[in-house]
């Protein structure tokens, strides 16, 4: 899709993105963050070219998702600076022989902190527990996006509860 100009930069985020670094988990859908800048198609219906591309491949639109090969996929715009940076910094990897891009652990943690729902905080705690992230990189992102206070509160709480 990227090569065909259907989407710009993209990266897997959310729970499935986190599961590249954490234990496998149950998730309703796969969140794929996409840059809609410089893409062809109607700016009022930016997802339409994606749906048009995936429909002949078996993709079936279901509300805000598209159902493809047994997975519900949601394409989400990378609108704010943090998400745009997460797309730019995403790492290329291979899943069952197919190349794809996934957000870094540090960006997934920062985005989860920014969202701040209970499930996002739980995800950050799992990152802390497993320890699969670069502390310096994370601190840099958190300071630049004013998320350090949230991080400190959550990580201190985690440490207190797991002493």
């Amino acid at each position: 899709m990227q090569a065909g100009g259907i989407i710009g930069k993209y990266a897997i985020g959310g729970a499935i993105g986190a599961s590249f670094y954490l234990e496998p988990t149950s998730s309703l859908d796969i969140d794929i963050f996409v840059s809609f800048g410089n893409m062809r198609g109607n700016p009022l219906a930016p997802l339409q070219p994606i749906y048009d591309y995936l429909r002949p491949l078996g993709g079936e639109p279901k509300g805000a998702h598209i159902f493809l090969k047994g997975w519900l996929i949601q394409f989400l715009p990378a609108e704010d600076a943090l998400h745009k940076e997460a797309l730019a910094a995403a790492v290329e990897t291979e899943v069952r022989g197919v190349k794809t891009r996934v957000m870094t652990a540090e960006h997934l943690m920062a985005i989860a902190l920014k969202l701040g729902r209970k499930k996002d905080e739980a995800r950050v705690e799992r990152f802390i527990e497993v320890g699969r992230y670069d502390k310096d990189k994370l601190n840099d992102i958190l300071r630049r996006y004013n998320l350090f206070a949230k991080w400190k509160e959550l990580s201190d709480g985690y440490m207190r509860n797991n002493e």
Partner: protein
Amino acid sequence: MSDLMDRILADKAKTRKELAALPFDEKLTIMEKIRERSALLAENSLRKQSFPTTPVVVVSGSGAVASGLDVRKKE
């Protein structure tokens, strides 16, 4: 917390770390199985059970507000 519970929790944390270290392809296989199990559980009658809600009047200060939530009386 009891020593037994501490050990159980430590063991769970160890398992999570071991699972986190698996190659993603293996994790994907596990996630697909989890999803199949979730679909089966979703078919269970307990999941489909609906719980009745009681209409309520919440009294707050000088005003009263009708709501569809549980019966509560506010100071």
